[in-house]
């Protein structure tokens, strides 16, 4: 059986997608995001290469990336990743984020970009300190924030997903949220913000995974990456996203009713 999208042979463009810790930070179907980024490039004739950056990867590889993705993890795995993040790696990743390399950081990775994570037992785990945010786990007695979620981003687009997190995240004053909660909990269940967006980096609690049902975000990342790399205006060819639309409508019907 063949692809339903005919691919135009256009090897003019190519992108390298870096997947940070696919072995350790891949718990909630995260690889779906990588599959979507790759396929949406391929269907448009853009060559996409995925670089898996596992434990002990050479930090220089960060310089080769056009798009960065990092997913969620279990606690043990998160600790391993934390110890693998050398000063050199942190410095380089901060540089990439500041220079506008598009990136998607989901759940555990999103928390990790912040200043710290305070555990239920009050001990603090240091974050990478790249984004002005912090996360606190309110303690054993408090519920995890779990369920379908719909948010509206600054372009007015509705984004859907599934959230499942114990930590409550609070944004610094000047950091913009990725979206505003329509239904669900978002960053902390109180201030109606969800995720964070800084330059071209998106941090979010949305699993699902996020990209299949919200292909506009995948295209945002791809377009920004091409514009940065080829230093010219590039408009992405439209794809048939009718299935994504229907899947999104299913979620919206579910949470509105």
């Amino acid at each position: 059986m063949k692809n339903n999208q005919s691919s135009i042979v256009n090897r003019q463009y190519s992108l390298t997608i870096g997947w940070l810790y696919p072995g350790l930070m891949s718990t909630y179907g995260d690889r779906g995001n990588i599959i979507v980024l790759t396929k949406r490039c391929e269907w448009r004739g853009i060559k996409a290469e995925v670089l898996n950056l596992n434990q002990d990867f050479d930090s220089k590889l960060l310089n080769d990336l056009d798009i960065i993705f990092m997913g969620g993890a279990q606690d043990l795995q998160q600790k391993i990743v934390s110890s693998d993040f050398s000063k050199e790696k942190i410095k380089l990743l901060r540089e990439k984020v500041e220079n506008g390399i598009p990136g998607l950081y989901v759940c555990g990775a999103y928390q990790f970009l912040g200043k710290y994570y305070k555990e239920a037992n009050r001990s603090k785990i240091k974050g990478l300190g790249i984004l002005d945010l912090f996360t606190e786990n309110p303690g054993e007695g408090k519920k995890r924030l779990i369920g379908n979620i719909a948010i509206k981003n600054s372009d007015g687009n509705v984004i859907v997903g599934f959230e499942n997190h114990g930590g409550r995240t609070y944004l610094g004053e000047r950091l913009k949220p990725f979206g505003h909660v329509m239904e669900g909990f978002g960053n902390n269940g109180i201030d109606k913000t969800e995720g964070a967006i800084y330059k071209n980096s998106i941090g979010t609690y949305l699993h699902g995974p996020i990209l299949p049902k919200n292909p506009e975000i995948a295209d945002f990342l791809i377009e920004k990456a091409l514009v940065r790399k080829y230093k010219k205006k590039i408009k992405l060819e439209k794809l048939d996203d009718s299935l994504s639309k229907k899947a999104k409508e299913t979620i919206l019907r579910k949470i509105v009713s």
Binding site: S26, Q55, N164
Partner: protein, 426 residues
């Protein structure tokens, strides 16, 4: 007191069956435990029968069915909790249901399948004679939490077990094997013969050492994270196997070998011989929805419950082994399925769908499954919004010599059975 609760419960079960309420498998236990917190403890503390617990993400019902078949064929009287009623109230209910009118439990064995999260809690009340631990895979993260958390809770509970409880553990699953480390209990290990394979499949869960967190290495892998593992740092490795082969398996699929070996090892430890086991297994019938074959409008349908990435991959392997041409995937997102369907992106559709001539999808989340297939490079499939419509059309189109292979999630499997045979469970 308990006699009154049993009587009350039995009347409830009778009435519940009469009006087809369907809550007879949990409510009587719920009420009994509400009135007498020690109901269950009292009922089993001076028991004359043996209790076997079966726990793990995948294979509980089939392993329980293997055990029941072997034990009954060898003259033992066995009772079980209803499949799915695997929390403490389900176990209490099954006990109420099986008391006779004299207030006695006239059985030799109770085989209980136990929910992953509830195993430690239930162990505080009941000390079983055997605990069979099959595997831990990622499953319903919204409900169960993460694999590491569950295995840690199990480990803490196992360290407090009385000495008489025997452990039957899957040596090929590193987290399960580790449960036998430093316990005072007699422990037996099962596994399967594995073929050489280099890297674990995608979405493997416990490839880190339980002792020192280093990355485990595998000499060979059966599937997912199950195989012949060793920690290159601290030297922890797969324990020696007490069984890795059995000459007769009534069900296809490598995953059923694990279930079978678990049941055979338990049976042998009870003194049942290989010959007796084989004779018993010749009359084995699969549990509902687990490779169960159903005749519907003169067409053949086989149902493969597929509820998480590991079980879905194994179902796809099994139907490929059976040379299936026509498959039908049904994805729901109700509480028993897990409300988060992210897990379908961890299923290896990319490599497992090449041989099918026709693929159809349905379920509450039909478009999520359709999207998954589209991104796996499949364009030729049919989507249905209504399950009954899908079932009618798909079977009507089926040649009489063909089999329709259906891979549903749990609640979808129950809905399917309702359509196909008029009732959800038995």
């Amino acid at each position: 007191m308990n006699l009154f609760l049993i009587l009350f419960g039995k009347i409830f079960i009778f009435l519940s069956n009469l009006v087809n309420l369907g809550s007879g498998s949990t409510w009587p236990g719920h009420v009994a435990l509400g009135i007498n917190r020690n109901f269950l403890k009292d009922a089993v503390v001076k028991r004359k029968f043996k209790i076997i617990f079966v726990a793990g993400t995948n294979g509980k019902t089939t392993t329980g069915k293997f055990l029941q078949t072997i034990l009954e064929a060898n003259g033992s009287r066995v009772f079980q909790n209803n499949s799915g009623a695997n929390l403490i109230n389900g176990i209490a209910s099954s006990i109420i249901k099986n008391y006779n009118i004299l207030g006695k439990l006239n059985y030799d064995f109770a085989v209980f399948e136990i929910d992953e999260n509830n195993l430690p809690i239930i162990l505080e009340t009941i000390s079983p004679d055997f605990i069979v631990c099959l595997n831990l895979f990622r499953d319903q993260l919204d409900r169960y939490g993460e694999v590491n958390t569950i295995s840690e809770k199990w480990r803490n509970a196992f360290l407090k077990l009385p000495k008489k409880t025997k452990l039957i553990l899957n040596a090929d699953d590193p987290k399960i094997a580790y449960l036998g480390e430093n316990v005072k209990n007699e422990t037996l290990y099962f596994g399967v013969k594995t073929i050489k394979k280099n890297a674990p499949e995608h979405a493997s869960d416990s490839i880190y050492c339980s002792k020192c967190s280093a990355n485990l290495e595998y000499k060979s892998i059966a599937f997912s994270h199950l195989g012949d593992w060793i920690c290159p740092k601290c030297g922890l490795k797969r324990p020696l196997l007490d069984i890795n082969f059995f000459s007769f398996c009534p069900l296809p699929g490598l995953y059923n070998k694990y279930n079978l070996h678990a049941a055979v090892l338990t049976s042998k430890s009870l003194g049942i011989s290989n010959e007796q086991i084989i004779r018993a297994l010749k009359s084995f019938h699969p549990a509902f929805g687990r490779q169960e074959i159903v005749e519907y409008k003169n067409k053949k349908i086989q149902i493969f419950l597929s509820k998480n990435p590991a079980s879905f991959n194994q179902s796809l392997n099994a139907v490929n082994e059976l040379k299936a041409k026509h498959i039908f995937l049904v994805l729901n997102d109700r509480i028993p399925d897990g409300r988060d369907v992210s897990w379908i992106w961890d299923v290896d559709f990319e490599n497992n769908l090449k041989n099918f001539k026709k693929i159809s999808v349905a379920g509450d989340r039909v478009y999520d499954m359709a999207l998954r297939l589209k991104y796996a490079g499949i364009s030729d499939f049919i989507t249905y919004e209504a399950l009954s419509d899908a079932t009618t059309k798909e079977t009507a189109l089926l040649a009489s010599s063909d089999i329709l292979y259906i891979l549903p999630t749990y609640s979808a499997m129950l809905d399917l059975r309702k359509i196909l045979i008029g009732k959800k469970i038995l």
